[in-house]
Every structure is written in structure tokens, then in C-alpha cells.
Symmetry: C2
Subunit: 246 residues, 2 copies
DNA sequence: TATTTAATGTGTAAATTAAACACATTATTG
DNA sequence: CAATAATGTGTTTAATTTACACATTAAATA
């Protein structure tokens, strides 16, 4: 609750007091987790943000965060928050980095651990009950609350690196996808244009795609073939993946 | 002090009480930093360890750690600990990962942030006043206290990755080194043998080595040429570095 | 229904990078 | 002065990456 995204102002004030007394009286530091939830939709890479309700950052967007419970594993806290916010549980989730400058949070000393997750906007249809929660095109993410812009930038960079070593991208796509979908995803994540023939060649040579012998439906042009990712085969031989310099 | 490496038993007991009361009474989690200090000597990659003085881990070795002060930036805490233990300040230091399972520390809930640093054993001659502090060949690091084995393994893996992207290795060598020294370093870090001609070719082609027109002294064989690393030139064009699959 | 449109689907050649591999040279040691 | 143990050096082959163009298909439109 320290990070304040879904709390009432009253709760925030209380938390502020608690933390400030800690800072003065003991050797204590509050610990939170922030989740950077990437999704892919309309050929754009998006990130899930919530409107900050701290006065200091009124109108700004922030990451989904919460305090870690004292009897809760750090990883478990990240999964809990992801589930709380999106209803999702069976997704890729990875610790990225920890941010701990003294004044990063206005409510007191809060060190936060950033976790990155990739979810499938189309497939999972997460329940956004809270209308303060929205998907943002990463190109428009420029001025987040707290130090969340820095955290976001770090996570995006890490995603760009990781996606070149492991086929994480498939977690962002629907189960059935065309090669154009896949290439759009990579272009959106890496922010570059890629050669279509070389792209296809590379993925076919990896031999992780299963041809479904189905075609796209309802596209306003020649439909492409649909594929699914062979997760079993991939798990068997995890190794360095495609390497595009950037 | 929670991690207990340089404290008296009395201090440890006190800390234990403090943390246990926290865990029971409030939403608090203690935060520490552990430093994984790599060095290179006698053609071996080494890590600096201290003997644990917690009874539970009597006789075992552990990493250098300490609590983060409430008014201290996380990065600053890592530099402080490194300086306290070794006297060094102007070295490469990087956050690796945060470890936060509930029962990782016997004294209570302590989440720790691991930082990795690379120091130059020959050049800096750090003052090991405490004779419970020793350099260990990484090959012999097998059974550390707490979850420090896991932390160490993670850091070594990260070092292996990083060293293939950035010339961190030079921080481990003396200012003047031979190409044999350099290759020994890479072989020690990566745990593989490399082809001498290809290795030299790769480094010369990167054009970061400055030929000092000096030769090794006091070696029991034909002396090699000495070089230094061109840090200025490297800083100007940071980019992806050598890439050896592993 | 024929034409246009906008995408899919495919192969090869050149350039770059990585890997394999052997012998002459030099200083030290005995 | 002979033996030793290391340094120093190039070329060839294989593998990977990059650049690049045209026929095909289905939908949309005239």
C-alpha cells in the first residue's frame, strides 16, 4: 500500500506516518514490489499502468506495486500482485532490478524490487475492473510517477535483451499467430524494422514453430498461415537464441 | 550486522531479537547487501569470503554483507561495505539480484541485494587485517553459509555473461598485463579453454589494447609483451563485445 | 467478372564472423 | 650450447548474417 496506487488518501497518510516513524526510530526500511506488465495488442507493445492517487503525483501514471508481506517470499509477492491486478497466475515473471535511493518515494524509505511480466492481451482478456488501470503504448510512456520512469526504462531494456536470448515473445501472442504477428511483436519490442525473409528464415531454422495448416480469418488481404509455438521442444534445448545487435 | 560476518556473538543476538520483534509486530523486513568480490591471482579466479560466526553455520564461509542504513542509498551501501572490507573505492560495482525467501536467514526476515565487484588482487593489495577473510579459488566454493551458495552461483553466471558483453575483465588485471594473463583470466571466468591465436586476433581487432613496448620481467620462459587497456577509447564506443556461446 | 491492391511466400549471392589448425622465434634453464 | 617452454604469427574453411526481387494469393473495387 505504500506505493499508494489503490489506496485511499486516508490509508496513504497512515502509511506515511508509519514509515516516517520507522525511519526515525529504527534501522528499518520498507520493501515493495513493482510489476511491469507488458502486453501486445494492435501490433503495439503496451504496458499496464495505474493512475497514481498520491497528491504529489496527481494525474501521473505509475506501475502496479505493493508492499511485501513479512512472511511472504519476494517472488511470491510479485505473483500475488500480478494476480491481484490482472487475475493471471500462469505467466512468465522475472525479477529485473532493485531500486533503493533514499528519496525515491515521498512516503518514506521504500526500497522496491521490479518484476517484469509478459501477458497476452488478446488471449487472457484480463478483467480491468478498476478504470484507473489502462494499457499504454510504450511509445507514450514518458512521465511516470515516483522513479517509475527509470524502472520502466530498465525493464524495457532488459526485455529487449532477454527477447534476443529466449523466446519470451510467444507469451505475448495469442496461441495461434501468423509470422507477421510475430515479426510485428519483435519490431515493437526492439523498436526496429526487420527484413521479412531473414526473419522468417531465422524462426523456421530454430524449428520451434508448428504449422497449424490454418489461415488467418477476416484479414483485409491475403491471409497468412497460422502457427503455434512448440514450448516442449524449446524447453528441451534452451540455449542462446537469436542475436540482433542493437 | 545481521548477516553477522564481522560482529561479536553478543551483537548478533541483539540483532536477532530486534528482527524477530519486527517480524512479529509490524510490516517490516530487514534489508541487507551482500558483496561478491571477485579477484584474479595466480591465473585463478577468486572470491573473497569471510568465516561465518553464527553458530548455525560454524566453520562455513559466507559473503561480505551488512545491513543497509535507513538513510543510505542502496548502491551507496554496497560501496560502503566494499570499502569497509577492502579499503577500495574506485572499482566497478554492479547490482546483480535480490534474494528474498522468507527463511533464508536464521536471524529473521532479511532480504538481501547482491552486488558484484571485480578487484585487482595484485594491484590493490587490499588490507586483510581480519584473518577470517580469505581469497578462495572459485572452484573450491561449494558450501557457503545461508543461501550464499545460490547468491554466489548467480553472480558467477552473471559475470560470465557480462564479461562477454563488456571488458570488465580488465578491472581484475594489473595495469600492465600480457596477453597470456588476459587469456588466463577469460579461461578462468568462463571455465573453458580458448584458442590462443583466435583469442589474440579478437582482442587486437577490438583495438582497445595499447602496446607498452615493455616485456614481462622475471618469468621462467620467453617474456611476453605488456599491454594496457584503453579505457577512454572503450567508453567512447560501448557496444556488444565478444560473444562466445556457452 | 476482370482489375487493382496489398499483403504473403520464397532463394541466392555476398559479406562478415567464427573456428580450426602448425611452425618459427625467443629467452631461460641446465 | 643444447633442451625447454613459452610467445608470436596467417590462412583456410565453415557458419552466420545481411542484402535484395519477384511470383502468388485473396480481398476489394471498378
Amino acid at each position: 500500500m505504500i506505493t499508494g496506487q489503490k489506496t485511499t488518501p486516508t490509508k496513504n497518510i497512515k502509511t506515511l506516518q508509519v514509515i516516517q516513524s520507522e525511519v526515525e526510530n529504527s534501522n528499518r526500511i520498507a520493501l515493495s514490489v513493482d510489476c511491469i506488465i507488458f502486453g501486445f495488442d494492435e501490433a503495439k507493445l503496451k504496458v499496464l499502468l495505474i493512475r497514481s492517487d498520491l497528491k504529489k503525483y496527481a494525474g501521473k501514471w505509475s506501475l502496479l506495486g505493493d508492499l511485501v508481506f513479512p512472511n511472504e517470499d519476494l517472488d511470491a509477492a510479485a505473483y500475488r500482485i500480478l494476480k491481484q491486478r490482472t487475475g493471471l497466475s500462469d505467466v512468465y515473471l522475472e525479477q529485473v532490478s532493485t531500486f533503493g535511493t533514499v528519496n525515491r518515494h515521498p512516503a518514506g524509505r521504500v526500497v522496491t524490487v521490479a518484476y517484469c511480466s509478459l501477458i497476452n492481451v488478446q488471449h487472457h482478456k484480463l478483467n480491468i475492473l478498476d478504470n484507473e488501470l489502462h494499457w499504454h503504448d510504450i511509445k507514450n510512456v514518458t512521465d511516470l510517477a515516483f522513479d517509475h520512469q527509470q524502472i520502466f526504462d530498465t525493464c524495457l531494456q532488459q526485455l529487449q535483451k532477454r527477447v534476443q536470448e529466449h523466446p519470451l515473445g510467444f507469451n505475448l501472442l495469442p496461441k495461434k499467430f501468423s509470422l507477421r504477428d510475430l515479426q510485428n511483436l519483435y519490431e515493437a519490442i526492439l523498436g526496429i524494422k526487420m527484413d521479412r525473409r531473414n526473419f522468417r528464415k531465422k524462426f523456421f531454422s530454430m524449428d520451434f514453430l508448428i504449422d497449424l495448416n490454418e489461415m488467418e480469418q477476416d484479414v483485409p488481404h491475403r491471409p497468412g498461415k497460422l502457427y503455434k509455438f512448440n514450448f516442449e521442444k524449446y524447453e528441451k534445448r534452451k540455449k542462446k537464441w537469436i542475436g540482433i545487435d542493437f
